[in-house]
């Protein structure tokens, strides 16, 4: 059984259930440094008008606020209803989230193009088989082609999906047939990604789309251009360039930082630079250089989704999820933190000022006032990586007092869709059949994906970990990505020994395969892996004809950002029941939009989006949904064993 760490009782349990975080919050308090955990209390009174989607400021006749008992009767200056305003706010949030993910995908495609054209020598094609499978989606003939030439051709095709002016997202044809027919019937099959976002901004301009249902339909269409487009392209190209993940063992939490070594933290979302920083840090010459500066070596650690990328491909230990970013610097043991895009907060600048830590931004899209900018260019990627690592080593001698909390857990991560198929049958019998069959026979009751963020408004990891614990105890297999994956790891749930804590059926499956009962499937952009998995479950058979038939739920218990809403929306469009927790709905003020999220979308897409701030409610709704779907499939009762005679073998 994995070591169980409980809070250290220092009064920070209401902020985080992670003992490492609690310890570091005490350090912050002692040093008088503010963090997200403290600023959330200082931000003042919660604004329910903005917080619940009832404030419209898309034009300058307002702002118009929809408050009070008769808010549904109120009209904006232009005459807009609350439903219109909330729907527009929702669509604009989704546009932000989808853009972040899809732009990540575009960058991956551009890197692949540069590699294919020979413009950079710092990357290679690590998974040529996946390159060929991916080329197949674009109907590109792979016969007799060299990896690089094919890579360039594939990258061009992928890039075309972003700016596509005609036709639909190529990846959308990977969905189950019935789902595609539904999209075509409803007219929501996603088109070119850029077009969908531009159209979203257009529709939400004052005086354009003023029908809540029509606006929300576009939210689904646009988000699916990411889920079945941008994000899926990001994941697949990352695998092509950096290798398709398979399980690796590692350690998780701030305790992975090393007091005798140069500590470098990679934080953000994209694997392009971080992969090469890992290479640079493992270079014997660089290690020698570190030793010459008095360190025993170089420790790499990750935070947030960059961590997930290098954790599941390289075994680089994750130091924690997004709420750990300031706490990591608080150890005083981090020589350098390098960030790229998304969820890398400006608060880092102020924290870093108290220590010797260099904070380095690398993306031209993500500069931070007060940080050092070393712009990443894939054409000279390794050179930049070397410079960054050297900068960290040179900073080792500037270290002062350090405080590394002694908390870490052993973890196994890296369950790509491909590995899950392999895990269930080996090279010769790979398939999802055993997964489906054990769901059918009830050893596994259903599946939930617990994804997404931490939110400073709710105790860190509490919702995630309690849900993970309860689901596995009830024979529900759990898939985790993003910051929820970190939370699971930090609290021991990615340890394969955890099979003993699962319910009897899931425990048997975990013991048979050797997997933990909770599968780490990647970063937040890798939620596309879950779509691929769901489509394959349908294709494998026995659990209905569409994703909406599967006894599964998508959950983000501690969501904080626009990307999370966007993921929820493409999942609903794909037929998934999604529940968000921690904080309430950002469009709660509008009954009209809330009805669309729930009954409206369920009727249209077979999936829906609900907000239940308390994890206990999420658990209850999830289990009820799983049971409902099992009943609809007729698998809620044990089936009689089918014995085959000769006549049944024929034909």
């Amino acid at each position: 059984m994995a070591e169980k760490k409980t809070g250290n009782g220092n009064g920070y349990a209401h902020k985080s259930m992670d003992p490492a975080a609690q310890e570091m919050l005490k350090v912050a308090e002692e040093k008088g440094i503010s963090t997200m955990f403290s600023r959330v209390d200082e931000k003042g009174k919660y604004c329910s008008v903005g917080g619940e989607g009832a404030c419209c400021k898309i034009c300058f006749m307002g702002p118009c606020r929809f408050t009070g008992q008769n808010k549904d009767e109120k009209r904006g200056v232009c005459g807009a209803t609350l439903g219109t305003v909330a729907a527009r706010n929702y669509l604009r949030s989704c546009a932000g989230g989808a853009s972040a993910h899809a732009d990540h995908g575009r960058d991956m495609a551009k890197t692949l193009l540069a590699v294919g054209r020979g413009e950079t020598k710092d990357y290679r094609i690590k998974d040529p088989l996946k390159l060929r499978r991916f080329a197949g989606y674009y109907d590109i003939d792979v016969e007799g082609k060299e990896d690089l030439a094919l890579a360039a051709e594939v990258a061009e095709a992928a890039l075309n999906d972003f700016g596509r002016q005609e036709g639909y997202q190529t990846m959308s044809y990977r969905a189950p047939k019935k789902r595609q027919e539904l999209w075509d019937k409803l007219g929501v099959r996603p088109r070119g990604f850029d077009r969908e976002v531009v159209e979203a901004m257009h529709r939400t301009h004052a005086g354009t789309d003023q029908d809540a249902e029509n606006i929300m339909d576009h939210a689904v269409r646009m988000c699916m251009a990411d889920g079945w487009g941008g994000s899926m392209i990001a994941t697949d190209i990352s695998d092509i360039l950096f290798g398709t993940p398979k399980p690796l063992s590692s350690e998780s939490n701030l305790g992975v930082l090393n007091e005798d070594e140069v500590n470098i933290i990679i934080h953000g979302h994209e694997p392009t630079l971080s992969e090469l920083i890992v290479d640079a840090a493992q270079d014997p010459e660089m290690i020698e250089y570190a030793k010459s500066k008095g360190a025993k070596g170089i420790t790499m650690a990750g935070i947030c989704c960059t961590a997930n990328e290098i954790w599941m491909r390289r075994g680089v230990p994750p130091a924690g999820n997004s709420l750990h970013q300031e706490l990591a610097l608080m150890t005083g043991a981090v020589e350098l933190m390098v960030v790229d895009v998304q969820c890398t907060f400006q608060g880092l600048v102020d924290v870093a000022k108290n220590f010797h830590t260099h904070l380095v931004t690398t993306s031209p899209k993500g500069k931070m006032t007060g940080a050092t900018h070393m712009e990443f260019d894939e054409h000279r990627a390794r050179e930049i990586a070397n410079e960054i690592v050297k900068m960290a080593i040179d900073n080792y001698e500037n270290r002062a007092d350090i405080h590394i909390p002694n908390f870490k857990q052993e973890v196994v991560a890296g369950f790509s869709h491909e590995y899950i198929r392999y895990m269930l049958g080996g090279k010769f019998r790979e398939s999802l059949t055993p997964l489906n069959e054990n769901i059918i026979n009830g050893k596994i009751q259903g599946a939930v994906a617990i994804v997404g963020c931490n939110n400073a408004q709710t105790p860190q990891d509490e919702g995630i970990v309690n849900l993970v614990k309860n689901f596995i105890e009830n024979d529900v297999i759990v898939i985790v990505t993003g910051c929820a994956a970190h939370a699971s790891g930090k609290h021991g749930y990615l340890n394969p020994q955890m099979f003993e804590n699962a319910g009897p059926g899931l425990s048997e499956v975990a013991e048979t395969t050797g997997m933990p009962p909770v599968l780490h499937m990647g970063s937040c952009v890798d939620n596309s892996r879950i779509l691929t998995l769901l489509a394959d479950i349908v294709e494998t058979g026995g659990l209905g004809e569409d994703i909406s038939d599967i006894p599964a739920v998508g959950i983000s218990p501690e969501y904080y950002c626009e990307k999370a809403l966007e993921i929820a929306t493409y999942c609903v469009g794909s037929g998934v029941y999604v529940i968000f927790g921690g904080v309430d709905s950002p469009v709660k003020a509008s009954g009209v939009v809330t009805d669309i999220h729930t009954d409206g979308w369920e009727e249209k897409f077979g999936g829906k989006l609900e907000f239940h701030p308390k994890w206990e409610d999420i658990f209850e709704h999830s289990m009820a949904h799983i049971q409902k779907k099992r009943e609809a499939l007729g698998i809620h009762e044990a089936r009689e064993r089918v014995l085959v005679d000769m006549a049944e073998r024929r034909g």
Binding site: G425, K427, K443, T513, A638, V644, M646
Partner: protein, 736 residues
Amino acid sequence: MAVTAKRKPEGIRETIAGGVARGVRRYYDLATSRYEEALASMDASTTVEFPNTGYYLPVIYGITGHVVEKLEDIQWVLDEAEKLIPPEPSPKMWLPYLGETLDGGMAALWLAEIIEALKYVGVGPSPTEGIWLGFADDVIMRQRGVEFVDGSAPGFAAVTGAAPDVETAVALAREMQGKYLYVFMAGESRGTTFAEQLVEGGVDVGWETRLVPFGPEIYGHIYSVNFATRAAMAFGGVQPGDFARILKYNKDRVFAFVLALGEVDDLKYAAAAGAINYGFPTIAEDDIPQILPTGVCTYEHVCSDVPLTEIVSKAIEVRGLKIVITEVPVPVAYGPAFEGERIRKDDLYVEMAGPKATGAELTVTAEDVEDGKVTVVGPDIADIEPGSTIPFGLLVEVSGRKMQSDFEPILERQIHHFLNEAEGYLHVGQRDIIWERISKKAVDAGFTFEHVGKIIHARYHSEFGGILDKVQVNVFTQEPEVSALLERAQSVYQQRDERLGSLTDTSVETFYSCTLCQSFAPDHVCVITPERSGLCGAYNWLDGKAAFEINPTGPNQPIEKGMTLDEHMGQWEGVNEFVYSASHNALERFNAYSILEEPMTSCGCFEAISVVLPMCNGIMTVDRDHTGMTPSGMKFSTLAGSVGGGAQTPGFIGHSKFYMGSGKFVSAEGGIARLVWMPKKLKEELKELIGANAASQGYEDLYDKIATEENGTEEDEILTFLTEVGHPALEMDPLF
């Protein structure tokens, strides 16, 4: 709902995954050292092969497509297998191991096949010493394949290890025989083997009794697996290297399982993991960890700690198999496994008919049949001196609304099988050439002549219940009753022969399909016409007709000929339509009488293959018992590989031996006169049939002009012979 696994301290990870990892390593080390030993003593180009197969080393060939013909070809297999050897899972922070374990199991199979193949070139112990049979060649695989197809053998048990004692071993073997299973045996435990225990217990082992001793070491079970692998290629038409389909075919169609008796060691874990790749689960006597979640196999993967009294029924349930057993009220064991059993002189109690006494059997339709009535006319067994020979007659009278006189010979012919399946009963021949024996052991057990009638009554009802309602049996054991029956029978036989002779393809409007083998050859469909019997030799047009009456939704369906599209080639509109849909749209049409143009497809269980010999302007025919080379440049086993699995291959057809007596035998190309070569043994067997067929077409002396292996196995040698004897084929229109 969920069944809880028994949890052992070490569990699946250490015992099974770890055991497989350690076991495969041992296979690898042994295969490598034997290979090196071989290289040290013989040339790298030395031929490595199993006897008489067209599938090289069949598991390796089937799964990887790699051909091992020479010693040096083994190196590739060793290298590939090494890549699949899994690491032992770490005791604390293990990575998932199931996929790796299954891969390791597959590697163990390849390595076992190498180990066994090297025994055939003299490295390691002889594979066929004593009771051990070693490799099951393609002849056996095809013959036995028919039994797997028609349900007379539902599957096989791969038994490893030994029972606690000889009595238990015998009981287990009897139970499996009684459930029609083949029992494949290899590997030891408790210091002995199951096969040796059976021999000690006085049980006949061998293919005839379905108790097949492959080898004393666990490696010998590769012969079970390569039998199954060939089934997928020979009957399923799966291409070598298409491992996914080969394994799926086995999971869906070959109902095999591993029965592990006694201790399960690492070598056995590795072999069992290999078997799981094929969908064959392990049921163990020993208290090992269980793997109960389903998915790779149809149901559970490993079930353990099963009492030996329940182990066979547990295995059948776990494999998802339904075995329907007809209860036959006799005091001896009963089942197809006893069909091949011999009765030796010193065990003989009574001999009936045969060369020294009169005999006949006759099944007829009658009025006033009293169902279940058995009348013995003459002395019963108790009144007969041991060792005597007596006259013997069986008159079986049946009635039923759907009974037709055309079905009488079909029912009558089955008496042979039905009686043979009783332990201690031997039945040879049919009609008036029967010869039967009953053993002392059977008589000691209480077997009487009344039981002969009871067997026929029970089996007629179970097999032909769809067409008959009542069965009564008269057993005659004395004169003059037997001679009287003989006289009556001979006149019935003559009427039947005349009726059969009058049945031609043009005289009937309906043909019958046979998709019996679609359980094994999913794309093949036989069309049975009066002048062309099913290619396995087991079904003629009347059989098809009767089978349809018995089971209107079964594998034999009537096909209305419809419009004749080409009388010469044998093509009919209705037949084409049927073939198109029954072949799952693979074939649009076929010609019943042609070998060259769109010929009929073959399953894999054909009795013989005919092949065009272009130089000779004729065809040759080879049957599956002939293992030698033929003038086509290929042996039967290789030829079979190119025509089986439902493929339409111009220039090649599979067919029954009986078809060679038909006027429609390759009639589109000129008929029997095209026949230029066949194995001597087959030629002699079919002398009358071929002679009569040739004579009816005006070739009185054709028989003597047909070459055999004595005249050569090269096409130019045959041409020389044909020229010398003036074979008519040389004068016929050019085939091309």
